[in-house]
Amino acid sequence: MTINEIQDELIDEFQMFTDWMEKYEYIIQMGKDLPLISEQYKQDDNLIRGCQSRVWLHADYKDGKVLFTADSDAIITKGLVSMVVRVLSDHTPSEIAGAELYFVDKIGLREHLSVTRSNGLLSMIKQMKLYAVALQSQEK
C-alpha cells in the first residue's frame, strides 16, 4: 500500500466513531498493542523530548526501505505514534520525505500537531523525515 492508501484506510477506520471518547478509546487501544520498539533502542540517543511525554524513535534501512519502530511513555501519544509508524514505515526514503500527512487533520487530531509542543508527535514526524532525507541523499 502506498502512504496515502494507508492514510485513507486510517481515515476510514475512524469514520465509524461518532464521539471523541470512542476515537480516543481506539487510539488508546492502538497504543496498548505490543511494544513498538525493542528495549535496547529506548535510550537517550533515540529520545525525542516533547513538553509532556517522551517518544523514542528508531529507524532501520533495509532493501531500500525505512523501517521505523517507536514508543512513548504516554499511551495516547503511543497510539498516535503507532499510527504515524503504520503510515510511514516500510517505504522508500523519497516516499517518506515527500509524504504529506493529511490523515491527522482529517481524523480531527490536528491539535496534536500544533505549535503547543504538548507532545512529541510533531518532533517525531520531523525526525522521521530527517532520517528519510538523509538516506535519500545517500541513495543518490
Binding site: 471523541w20 471518547m21 480516543y24 478509546e25 488508546i28 513538553c51 509532556q52 511525554s53 517522551r54 511513555d73 504516554a74 499511551i75 495516547i76 501519544t77 504538548s118 507532545n119
Partner: protein, 417 residues
C-alpha cells in the same frame, strides 16, 4: 472538614459570580467548559474587560510627559492604580510598587539589579526545592555570572520546606545575600511559613524576596506585617490583564540598586557623557509602560476586593478539601503535595497512567486542567514522576465542577488502564 459537608451557599453566590465571567459559558468539544487551570492564568471578569475597553476609548495616550488632556487623564489613571495596588498589599509608599510585566519580570529585575550591586564571588543565594523555573533560572544566571552559589532548601515528602535545614544554611553560611522563595507553590499548593522565613533571615540582616504569584489571589497580603523586602506577582493570575505585574521593594533597597532597563522615563537628565536617573518608581520603569495593564490591574483587584478576599479564601479552601477527599477514593491516585497548610491547588498522579493522557481525555470532556511539570522540573524529579495532573481552583468554580472532575478522572483512568 469531611468530603460530604456542604459548602455554605451563603458565603459566595457563585452562580451570580460566574455570570461576571463571559468566557465561562464557552462550549468545549460540545461540553460546557470546566475551567480548572486558574493557577496558570485566571479568567477576567467583565469589569476588567470593560476597563480595558474604557482605557482605549477614553484615555489612551502616552503618560508622564504630556501636557495635554488625554495624557494627563491617562497618567492620573495610571498613578491612581498604583495607589490602589499599594493599598492592596499595604505598601508604605506607592512608589515602592513598580509596574512590571509579571512575576518573571519582577524576579529578573531583582536578580539583575540587586545582584549587580550586592552579590559578589563566593556569595550565596538561597531558594527552595519547590520553586517555579522563574524563581530558579534568574538566580542560576546571576550565580554563574558572579561565581556565587545557589543553595536549595529541601522539602519533606508532604511537600513542606525543611525549616531545620534552612536554619542550618543560615547558621553555617556567612555569605548569604538573599533568600528568594515562593509564598505558595504552584504545583503543590503548599503555603510556606514566610513570616518565619523572613524573620530568620532578618536576624542575620539578609533580605527576603517572595514570589507571590500564587498567593495574592488567595490570601491577604500585608508587606508591612511580613516585613518582606521584595514581593512580586502577576496581574494575569489576579483577574487582571496579561502583561501586568507588580514588584514591591523596600525603598532602601530600590534606592541602593542600579536601574534594570535604560530608556525613556527612567532618567532625569541625559547627556552623551553622563546620565542621571529618575527617582522611584520611574527609575525602574523604562520606556512607554504597558499603560493598559498598569491601569487595569487594579480593576482585577477591585473585583476581588468586592467579593472580599477572606470570603474567597474560605470558599476556595472548602472546595479544595471537598475535591481532595473525593479524588482520594480513586484507586491508585496519589496526591502530590499534602502539606498541612495548603490552598487551591490539587496535583495528583495515577499509577500506571501518564498525566498527559488524563489531561487529553479530560479536555475532551470539557475539563481544563494542566498536566506536566508546571515549570517545576526539579520538584517532579524529587517526587520521581514525569509530572502531575493539576486542578487549580478559584472562587468561580463550583462543587458540581469538582464532581465533574472526579467523574472525569475515573472515566479517563478506566479507559487508560
Amino acid at each position: 472538614m469531611s468530603a460530604t459537608s456542604t459548602i455554605s451557599p451563603a458565603v459566595l453566590d457563585v452562580e451570580k459570580i460566574r455570570k461576571d465571567f463571559p468566557i465561562l459559558s464557552t462550549m468545549v468539544h460540545g461540553k460546557p467548559l470546566v475551567y480548572l487551570d486558574n493557577a496558570a492564568t485566571s479568567q477576567k471578569p467583565l469589569s476588567v474587560i470593560k476597563a480595558i475597553e474604557h482605557y482605549y476609548t477614553h484615555e489612551n495616550s502616552n503618560i508622564h510627559r504630556g501636557v495635554h488632556f488625554l495624557s494627563q487623564r491617562a497618567t492620573e489613571a495610571y498613578e491612581v492604580s498604583r495607589k490602589k495596588v499599594a493599598k492592596f498589599i499595604n505598601a508604605p509608599h506607592d512608589y515602592e510598587c513598580l509596574f512590571v510585566k509579571g512575576t518573571t519580570d519582577g524576579i529578573n529585575l531583582v536578580a539583575y539589579s540587586y545582584g549587580k550591586q550586592f552579590v559578589k564571588e563566593g556569595d550565596t543565594i538561597i531558594i527552595s526545592a519547590m520553586e517555579h523555573h522563574s524563581n530558579i533560572v534568574p538566580w542560576q544566571i546571576l550565580c554563574e555570572d558572579r561565581k556565587a552559589n545557589l543553595k536549595v532548601i529541601p522539602i519533606n515528602e508532604k511537600g513542606e520546606l525543611k525549616m531545620d535545614e534552612y536554619k542550618k544554611m543560615l547558621a553555617e553560611d556567612k555569605n548569604v545575600k538573599l533568600v528568594s522563595v515562593c509564598w505558595i507553590s504552584n504545583s503543590l499548593g503548599t503555603i510556606n511559613p514566610v513570616k518565619e522565613i523572613i524573620a530568620l533571615a532578618h536576624e542575620k540582616g539578609i533580605p527576603v524576596m517572595l514570589d507571590a504569584a500564587q498567593a495574592v489571589q488567595h490570601i491577604v497580603v500585608d508587606v508591612q506585617d511580613l516585613d518582606v523586602d521584595f514581593l512580586t506577582f502577576s496581574g494575569h493570575k489576579l483577574y487582571g490583564p496579561t502583561g501586568s505585574g507588580i514588584l514591591y521593594g523596600k525603598e532602601k533597597w530600590l534606592n541602593a540598586m542600579p536601574p534594570y532597563q535604560g530608556g525613556g522615563d527612567m532618567i532625569k537628565h541625559v547627556t552623551f557623557e553622563k546620565t542621571t536617573y529618575n527617582e522611584l518608581p520611574f527609575k525602574f520603569e523604562a520606556g512607554t509602560p504597558n499603560i493598559e495593564a498598569g491601569i487595569c490591574i487594579s480593576a482585577g483587584i477591585d473585583y476581588l476586593n468586592g467579593l472580599g478576599i477572606e470570603v474567597v479564601a474560605q470558599y476556595e479552601h472548602e472546595l479544595l478539601e471537598y475535591v481532595t477527599a473525593k479524588l482520594l477514593e480513586i484507586p491508585g491516585l496519589r496526591i502530590i503535595g499534602t502539606a498541612d497548610q495548603k490552598t487551591s491547588v490539587v496535583s495528583f498522579f495515577v499509577d500506571g497512567t501518564h498525566p498527559s493522557d488524563i489531561g487529553i481525555l479530560l479536555d475532551k470532556m470539557g475539563i481544563a486542567v494542566r498536566t506536566g511539570h508546571h515549570c517545576t522540573q526539579p520538584l517532579m524529579e524529587i517526587f520521581g514522576i514525569p509530572g502531575t495532573v493539576r486542578a487549580s481552583l478559584a472562587f468561580c468554580n463550583t462543587k458540581q465542577e469538582m464532581d465533574q472532575l472526579v467523574e472525569g478522572v475515573k472515566r479517563a483512568v478506566s479507559m487508560l488502564l
